[in-house]
């Protein structure tokens, strides 16, 4: 993560209260690492000595940027890139604090990615208000509710410049801007395919999917799509690894209906994860040997292998998985594991490197502290946390392709499967 201090211009000197809150924040971060970091030995680091080294610098910090830099340098000693201090103003752009209607369940039906510094519409849900208004993939979002998006995106992009979670955070920021009360509207200004400015008032709809209830989580919409591509390849996509009673059955049905050599594509783009154990369960339909594993999770209490139980007869044909920077957590465990086992070929772009649930705690000084309390090693020894899954074939969507109604990542997977027959 970039030094947040570079985002600030001429900064005011801290007040006495702000200094106290910064010291409280220092204490919070130091204690959290001491008590929750997955390796109780902290990789051999003398954490007490680290505290004594950095505490004077925090006491002497004159500005918020200096205070952040102290915390960043301190957690930087862990050598874990997914530990981060998020400036308060960026935290708000990620949707953690929302004003007015923002933050409601309502969605536009538009999905986006920030590519080449532009916010590209990558997908418009069929039947959504956005589709009804003629919004098309390849359009560029310029303003939302009159607010220019480029500066907000630039702030998040700079804060996460060196993080594998950059695309994920940009996606969160955009989704937060486009969400709101169901039935409300979002005024969005686009550049259409001819670069003409188009403004649309888009009604916010209930997110697609069936509401799934899992423990204390709020009811969460979960959708699962399966369809046969013209080439006979089975394509599946789902928005979360949740609602296992329904999704595992649907996934198994999709596998069962796939001819042995037809090809199977799992689209994990935009899937932020969910129940990790579902990845092993789904992998079982593609693995026919016992004692294979997707990876290993290490916490302070235990080391758990993500073992795959074969579901015989397993599907033996080619498997392609589509990923990008918004594929996180269980998506990465699934894709990284099947890739390492040589059972799937991965298409798209680097995943988020957030294999484990990353906790974000707000600090007393208004900033936020992002940290994880476990480590995950994919089969083959690759650390996913802070690194992500590297595709076998990198494919980045272009505006031109999207405007032409094509999906270059899917096209690449279809082409590869065709070559396997």
């Amino acid at each position: 993560m970039a030094a947040a201090g570079s985002l600030a211009g001429a900064e005011p000197t801290l007040t006495a209260q702000q200094r106290r809150l910064n010291l409280d924040s220092f204490e919070f971060v130091w204690t959290t690492v001491r008590d929750q970091y997955w390796d109780p030995k902290l990789g051999g680091l003398n954490w007490q000595a680290v505290r004594e080294e950095f505490l004077p610098a925090m006491q002497n910090a004159e500005t918020m940027s200096q205070a952040r830099q102290v915390l960043e340098r301190m957690i930087g000693r862990l050598g874990q890139s997914h530990f981060a201090i998020i400036p308060g103003f960026v935290y708000e752009d990620l949707g953690a604090k929302r004003d007015g209607e923002e933050g409601g369940a309502g969605v536009t039906g538009i999905d986006t990615r920030v590519i080449g510094g532009r916010i590209l519409v990558t997908q418009v849900d069929d039947g959504s208000p956005a589709a009804a208004q003629g919004v098309r993939p390849g359009w560029i979002i310029v303003r939302i509710e009159g607010r220019e998006m480029a500066p907000a995106i630039a702030k998040v992009a700079e804060a996460y410049q060196k993080s594998t979670q950059r695309e994920l955070m940009l996606h969160h920021a955009m989704q937060a801007r486009m969400s709101g009360r169901v039935g409300g509207t979002r005024r969005i200004e686009f550049l259409d395919g001819a670069d003409k400015v188009v403004e649309k008032n888009i009604r916010l709809m209930m997110p697609p999917g069936e509401l799934a209830i899992f423990g204390l989580l709020p009811p969460t919409p979960v959708w699962f799509h399966a369809r046969k591509l013209p080439s006979g390849i089975q394509y599946v996509a789902f928005n979360l690894f949740l609602d296992p009673a329904r999704l595992m059955t649907a996934f198994g049905d999709a596998v069962a209906s796939t001819g042995e050599n037809s090809g199977f594509i799992i689209d994990l783009r935009g899937n932020p994860g969910g129940l990790g154990i579902m990845a092993t369960g789904m992998a079982g339909w593609f693995i026919d040997k016992p004692n294979q594993q997707l990876g290993t999770m290490q916490t302070r209490q235990s080391t758990l292998k993500f073992i795959v139980n074969p579901r015989l007869p397993a599907y033996r044909g080619p498997v392609a998985m589509l990923v990008d920077g918004t594929s996180a957590s269980t998506s990465e465990i699934f894709a990284g594991g099947l890739q390492a086992l040589g059972r799937a070929r991965i298409f798209g772009s680097q995943t988020a490197g957030a294999a484990l649930p990353s906790l974000i705690d707000q600090l007393p000084n208004g900033d936020a502290f992002q940290h994880a309390n476990a480590n995950y090693i994919s089969e083959g020894g690759r650390t996913l946390e802070g690194a992500g899954v590297t595709p076998d074939l990198e494919v980045i969507p272009t505006r031109e392709a999207l405007l032409a109604g094509r999906d270059p990542v899917l096209d690449a997977a279809v082409k590869w499967i065709g070559a396997q027959k």
Binding site: P244, A245, L275, G281, N291, T299, Q301, K305, I307
Partner: protein
């Protein structure tokens, strides 16, 4: 009751040792005596020998997580067991043994056959009226001290099975009831230290049985509450058959 442990461990993703209060000059009863006292305290050998099957129903809750469901178990002499836990939002998890093959399956993870220490533990736990048969299941039982469990003095007994890792059981000195046990569960996912508390003993027919089990593993805790226990119910033999997807995992010769 202990049978629930192995199954639920697949759900758990994660104890402070009570202090040793053994008085230096106090003579400890032998492990054999303590285990036999447990049989007497829960109804006696004759009462156990009258039963040949058990059907129990109850509920499951993952503490503090809002995950709840139902539990049903079927056991039959001499060594058959089938148990299912059906959790809202997750689906069904099944666990069983036909006396030779121990297995589990779930919508989440698919079917699996237990091997090694895990299989040995499952077959031990499938032994009907296990308290009567500990001499056949363990090569040694040793009383190693007295510890407090919930303010009660308990004998601490280490049981070493013929195959697999030792487990530690705690018996109330006054009531002679088993109130806690600690063990390491093995599975392909790894080894997990588990601590369990038994309580709410009630008379079901001629036997006193625990109706509450609290288990901690990997930082998670769950509670199983047993509502009904029925002895000598007729259980169809097919109840203990291997499900087709489990049988598919066996070498062909084993399924004949």
């Amino acid at each position: 009751m202990r049978k629930f442990l192995a199954t639920v461990t697949t759900l758990s993703t994660l104890a402070a040792l009570p202090w040793l209060t053994l008085a230096a000059d106090e003579a400890l009863p032998k492990g054999e005596v303590i285990l036999d006292q447990f049989v007497e305290a829960t109804g006696g050998k004759a009462a156990y020998e009258k039963i040949h099957s058990e059907v129990a129903t109850g509920s499951f809750e993952l503490t503090g997580k809002g995950i709840r469901g139902s539990v049903t178990s079927f056991k039959a002499a001499p060594n058959k067991i089938y148990l299912t836990i059906d959790l809202a939002g997750i689906g069904k998890m099944e666990d069983g043994s036909n006396g030779e093959i121990a297995w589990n399956r779930s919508a989440l993870q698919g079917p699996r056959i237990k091997e090694g220490d895990e299989r040995a533990a499952a077959l031990r736990e499938a032994t009907f009226n296990e308290p009567l048969h500990w001499r056949k299941l363990y090569k040694s039982v040793e009383t190693v001290g007295i510890e407090k469990v919930d303010d009660k003095d308990c004998y601490k007994v280490v049981l070493t099975p013929l195959e697999g890792k030792a487990q530690t059981q705690f018996f109330d000195r006054q009531s002679h009831l088993l109130v806690k046990f600690a063990m390491t569960l093995s599975s392909p996912m790894g080894e997990v230290a588990v601590e369990s508390r038994l309580g709410d003993y009630r008379k079901d027919g001629d036997l006193l049985t625990p109706h509450r089990l609290e288990q901690s593993a990997m930082g998670q805790q769950f509670v199983i509450t047993i509502d009904t226990v029925k002895w000598n119910e007729e259980i169809p033999k097919s109840r203990f058959d291997l499900p087709a997807d489990v049988a598919a995992l066996l070498p062909k010769a084993a399924t004949k």
